[in-house]
């Protein structure tokens, strides 16, 4: 059974129990040992087939052990049955048979002197292979010595035995050759040498196994020891639960993280410069006995540091040993802890890291906390995905993700380090919610990132997974290694053979991709690009193109300077070469740094140059080639165009007219990257303008009717982005683009396409003419149908579209008739910010109609809207407040309804403290509506609405001025609010509003001034501020409301003046 042969690995890596009884210790039952044993079993099994000669090599000493295999189970030619025992006929020497298995009580003793027999016993043991191997190894601690003799025994330090042996053999061979020359052929000697050669070969084979096992165990061990932020958080959380004031019950007084509590995205709390040293967090522990302990949690373990100095700066210097577990460290430092923790044995189960369930629980806690803090809102989605995966894998993946703090941190730059203010966090959150679909939603105008897509961010998270894959090296690994060797050491011929053979591997498979990298293949492949040999370059690029689909490979290629070389190749006269280089660049430039590199080395210009190909209708090989070059150029530009600066560079290089020309191509393969690039660039206003003016809208519309879903999606997506502008929306309609957009709504299976199409409909619906066409196409009914069971990316756009369409009164009824109101109200309970903004707007539009309002009211929609005022996102707050206005206007018993929301009025008044203009304007509008009800006006007055409104009067924003003045006008109708406004200084600024250009502002301001002028003090203030002149002008306005209010105000001022005069003369 056995073959266990691997000296160093067993000696060092395998975990032996400390008690070394009898012939040797026992192998512990650990995962590591089990894996090692498994590898050995696999190795022995099939040894004979691989190494026929070696397996017959007779051992120096037999391997003897107690076996569970019965002698009857073993039958092989050359075995003799002797009273139940089996003994081989072949003998090593004297009376030592090569193999024997003897009955000996319950156990049988087995002794084997060749690999062949070992293999047979193993095979006979059936499913007990593991027991058998274990028994053999335990009985023979150094199997190599048994097999090949003491000279090969495993020793500490340098092992020169092989080299000595080789010398010996060489010497003997030389001697033999000499003898041969003297005609003294010595066959015996020759045989001896043959045997020694065999021994050597065997030793080498075993060495290889040894090495393999060591590698395996190293991978295992490193995985074990490294701490991760999750583990640290877990341990601290548990200990926190066990800490408290009670000395008799708790293990520690307090334990907490030291520092400002900021958690980096990677889960670390240590400042970035310390993260580079592997620090994860610092822990502050107050034990019951002794001083405060400051502990550093480092990836290498827990250790004490010198604690903070007087100024509160941490002295990070290490004091004492590192411990693998926090508990072990604390046990060493605090006697009380040791005593108490032992009593808590039960709770501490959670501590064991290989206990999957518990570890998972801790992790989940961790996740929850993080997501509320706003760092990983995409977790739930991710989790759902992961749940379907193997549980073990999930553990690994999550742990890994957090394992490499510094890497991600580096990639993201310093942006994350400064604690971002709330709004920025929000933005981040929004971006993260839909990493994959993000490209399809219009880009936030104030987006400070230069990226129009978050794909790159996704990639920044790709971390090394090397150690994982190393654990079991597949055969491809070795074969690829060999090929790389020929790439390195071969001439052109060997290189080409190796390159072509490498492509026979499944390069789409990650194992192969990483194998190439791990054996240094990338360096060679990239070096080949610098040679003069076109064939080598082509061969190398063909491989790079395939493997660069892997994110880690992309990074490696960029690190090795591959992009620079490929950019150079773009100028090569060979078209195949150009194509391959561009396609590879397309794959590599999927992350920010790579895109920058391409730009900085003039790649954009060259890529744009590739687009310049004559469009000929007749197909000839030459024209096809040219088209292929252009296509690959477009592919690369597509990847590159995700960076803002690259878009700019492309524009400057003249990409737009070339793209416009290619857009006329009838070839789908060409159109997809071209439209893909266009839609990516359409986030820039300059491109949107160009797309419109270069006549590309027509082609985009035409391709909406293409057969390819992908092409349709990119076209829709481009229209989505471009239709921000009115002219574009009109063009889409004029070219008949609305019809195909609506018909795309049928493709409910393809969510990306659906998201793009609904997005385009949403934006197109901003133009009233388009709304009419959509009505004819029955778009509302179809959109309402999509309100259920769609991913958020689609819902955002569907709801956005409905919101726009419902601006047209007849459509509000259509939404109701199609049953759209309940699902819309239902969506108010969601969490996706972008969706909430759109839903509130749509609900608000629907509430403009009485019949709709009845349904909304019944579904408690107003309460839901109201609760959204508490949302963190100001856009949601504002949109909710706007939606509340028509609700109050159209609901029956609106005043009663509003009062029924506990704390509702206080909440809305408090929003006047917001510093977001849109929120303020919307809240003012809502307050104006609320104040129509006297009782509610009384309540909000008590909540201090007057001084808060007064404080806002200095604004210059017309929208806010309009609604603010309206709110002031309405609020005057209670108690001494008029006087209060005057006292708070609201009057004089209002007078200035009359100079605004906006009629609406005039109207509401005149109304407010009229109300305020009922108080004499205010009249004086107004008069002093020069109100009469502008009001006189407004009396002459066409607008009756404005006329009336202005006249009323002037009347009040006049009356006060008259009264004054009268008083003076009487």
């Amino acid at each position: 059974v056995y073959t266990s042969v691997m000296g160093q690995a067993l000696q060092r890596a395998a975990q032996w129990t400390s008690a070394k009884g009898g012939s040797g210790g026992k192998l512990e039952f650990t995962k590591l040992n089990e894996e090692l044993l498994n590898s050995i079993i696999q190795y022995v099994d099939g040894f004979g087939a691989k190494y026929a000669d070696e397996s017959k090599l007779v051992f120096k000493k037999p391997l003897t052990w107690q076996t569970t295999v019965s002698p009857d189970a073993i039958s092989a030619p050359g075995l003799e049955d002797r009273g139940g025992d089996k003994i081989s006929e072949a003998k090593a020497d004297k009376d030592q048979p090569l193999f024997s298995i003897k009955r000996d009580g319950s156990d049988n003793e087995c002794s084997a002197m060749t690999m062949e027999y070992c293999e047979q016993v193993l095979r006979a043991s059936g499913d007990k292979k593991m027991i058998e191997i274990r028994a053999c190894l335990e009985a023979n601690r150094d199997p190599v010595a048994n097999m090949l003799g003491e000279r090969f025994a495993t020793v500490e330090g340098d092992d020169n035995s092989i080299f000595r042996f080789i010398e010996e053999i060489t010497k003997e061979i030389e001697q033999l050759a000499k003898q041969h020359a003297e005609n003294e052929g010595n066959t015996e000697k020759q045989e001896e040498i043959e045997e020694k050669k065999l021994v050597l070969k065997m030793r080498l084979i075993l060495l290889r196994l040894d090495q393999q096992l060591l590698n395996q165990s190293i991978a295992q061990i490193t995985k074990d020891v490294r701490l991760t932020p999750i583990m640290v958080d877990g341990e601290v959380t548990i200990l926190q639960e066990l800490s408290g004031d009670d000395e008799r019950k708790h293990v520690l007084e307090t334990i907490d993280f030291w520092g400002d509590g900021y958690i980096f995205k990677n889960g670390c709390r240590a400042p970035p410069q310390r993260q580079l040293h592997g620090d994860i967090a610092y822990i502050e522990v107050r034990p019951f006995d002794g001083n405060m302990l400051y502990i550093t949690a480092n990836t290498s373990g827990y250790y004490l540091n010198k604690g903070p100095d007087n100024r509160g700066d941490m002295n990070y210097e290490k004091e004492g040993d590192a411990y693998r577990e926090l508990v072990t460290l604390l046990k060493d430092k605090s006697a009380h802890f040791t005593e108490m923790i032992d009593k808590q044995e039960f709770h501490l189960k959670v501590q064991e890291k290989d206990d999957y369930m518990d570890a998972r629980r801790v992790e989940e806690d961790d996740d929850d906390r993080e997501s509320t803090a706003g760092y990983r809102p995409d977790r739930s989605k991710q989790k759902a995905e992961e749940d379907s995966k193997d549980k073990g894998q999930k553990q690994k993946a999550q742990k890994k993700k957090k394992l490499e703090p510094s890497l991600k941190w580096k990639a993201l730059g310093m942006e994350e380090y400064q604690e971002p203010d709330k709004r920025e966090t929000q933005k981040l959150k929004k971006k993260k919610t839909s990493p994959r679909m993000k490209t399809k939603t219009p880009v936030d105008a104030e987006d400070s990132f230069s990226e129009s897509s978050t794909e790159s961010e996704e990639e920044e998270e790709a971390v090394e997974r090397r150690s994982e894959t190393n654990a079991d090296l597949p055969s491809e690994y070795w074969q690829i290694q060999k090929l790389v060797k020929y790439l390195k050491g071969g001439n052109q011929t060997a290189t080409i053979i190796a390159l072509c053979s490498m492509r026979d591997f499944n390069l789409a498979q990650e194992t192969c991709q990483l194998a190439i990298r791990d054996v240094g293949g990338l360096e060679v492949l990239i070096n080949l690009l610098d040679t003069e040999e076109v064939k080598c370059k082509i061969g190398s690029l063909k491989i790079l193109k395939e493997i660069s689909r892997n994110t880690q490979i992309r990074r490696a290629i960029a690190d090795l300077g591959g992009l620079q070389t490929m950019v150079k190749i773009l100028r090569d006269p060979d078209k195949d070469l150009k194509c391959l280089a561009a396609e590879t660049i397309a794959n590599v430039a999927k992350f920010r740094r790579a895109r920058r590199t391409v730009r900085q080395h003039g790649g954009i210009k060259k890529l744009v140059g590739l687009l310049d190909c004559p469009i000929v209708s007749a197909t000839s090989p030459e024209a096809d080639k040219d088209a292929e070059v252009a296509r690959s150029g477009a592919l690369a530009l597509w990847s590159c165009s995700k960076s803002k600066k690259n878009k700019e560079a492309m524009r400057k290089a003249g990409a737009i007219p070339l793209l416009a020309k290619l857009l006329k191509s009838p070839n789908e393969n060409m159109l997809i990257p071209v439209v893909g690039t266009l839609q990516e660039c359409a986030s820039e206003p300059s491109y949107r303008l160009a797309i419109r003016t270069e006549g590309m809208i027509e082609d985009l519309v035409k391709n909406l009717k293409s057969q390819s879903d992908e092409l349709q999606m990119h076209c829709a997506s481009a229209i989505f982005k471009c239709a921000e502008e009115k002219e574009t929306r009109d063009l889409v309609r004029q070219y008949g683009g609305l019809d195909p957009l609506v018909s795309l709504l049928q493709k409910t299976e393809n969510k990306e396409l659906l998201a793009a199409a609904t997005g385009a409909i949403w934006k197109c619906a901003i133009s009233p003419e388009n709304v009419t066409r959509f009505q004819e196409l029955r778009a509302i009914e179809q959109l309402v149908g999509l309100l259920n069971d769609q991913p958020e990316e689609v819902l955002v756009n569907v709801v956005g579209g409905l919101g726009e369409l419902a601006k047209d009164p007849p459509n509000r009824m259509l939404v109701r008739k199609a049953g759209g109101i309940p699902p819309l109200v239902n969506l108010l309970t969601g969490t996706n910010q972008a969706l909430l903004v759109n839903v509130t707007r749509a609900v608000g539009q629907c509430a403009e109609e009485q019949d709709n309002m009845v349904i909304i009211d019944k579904l408690d929609g107003v309460r839901l809207l109201w609760s959204l005022l508490k949302n963190q996102n100001p856009d949601v707050q504002a949109s909710a407040a706007w939606a509340i206005c028509p609700c109050i206007e159209n609901a029956k018993d609106a005043g009663e309804m509003v009062r029924s929301f506990v704390g509702g009025l206080e909440l809305i008044v408090s929003l006047l403290k917001s510093d977001h203009r849109e929120v303020l304007a919307s809240v003012c509008a809502a307050i104006a509506n609320i104040a129509k009800d006297e009782e509610n006006l009384a309540v909000i007055t008590d909540h201090g609405v007057v001084p808060m409104l007064a404080r806002l009067t200095n604004t210059v924003d017309d929208k806010l001025r309009r609604h603010l003045a309206e709110a002031i006008a309405r609020c005057c109708n209670w108690g001494n609010n008029r006087t209060a406004f005057g006292r708070e200084g609201a009057v004089a600024p209002l007078v200035k509003y009359l100079k605004s250009q906006d009629e609406n502002v005039h109207r509401s301001t005149a109304r407010a001034l009229y109300q305020l002028s009922k108080n004499p003090e205010n009249c004086i203030t107004m008069h002093e501020a020069g109100v009469v002149q502008p009001l006189m002008k407004m009396v002459g306005s066409q607008d009756e409301d404005l006329q009336e209010a202005s006249a009323g105000c002037i009347g009040n001022i006049r009356r006060l003046a008259l009264a004054n005069e009268k008083a003076r003369y009487s």
Binding site: K485, Y486, G490, N491, T493, I496, A498, S501, R503
Partner: protein, 227 residues
Amino acid sequence: MPSKAKPVYKGGERMKFIEMLHHKSHFSKTEVERLLQMLKQQCPNSPKIRMDRNKFNDFVHKNFEMTDEMIVDRVFRAFDEDNDGFINELEWVKGLSIFLRGTMEEKMKFCFDVYDMNADGYISREEMFHLLKNSILKPATEEDPDEGIKDLVEITLKKFDYDHDTRVSFDDWTKCVNEDNLLLEALGPCLPNLKTKNAFLELVSDAQHDTGMSISAQQKLKGKVTY
């Protein structure tokens, strides 16, 4: 210039011969004449217009930068269809036709013939070993240098041997090369590279001569082909 060539055949026959060569190659009649002239200049003193092995070696070395003796020898044999140790006018034109303007099929056949040393229709392991034995530059320290070559041969064989008979037939060869054109000269470069090919074509092609060959090009022609 071609008109100055001393006709081996009488006028009419000569024209027929050139006509025949034109049909058997990718060259125009004038190009054929130029090539023949070139051949003639190579062997100024011999009674027959033909090129021996040494001259051929020099020729491909100078014009096509082909230096690997073994391969050049094999190329010579591939040119030398009648195996008489000389390249006559017919072989010269046909060989250069493949060299300079060959179709993929022709080139595949040519390369296969070059590599099929014993002309038995198969490239065997041994032949591969022979062709590849110099292809590993860096001697592997730890192992027998032949070991690496053997390994490379196995890899190559695995790549080419579609029918698994441990040798490469012409069928195997064409299948594989069609699949991946890079493998055309898999066992050693035996065709001129793009640069030398174009340079040589410049000397003979009609396009160049029609536009009036420059003096320098004419001189180059003389310099190249006469020594």
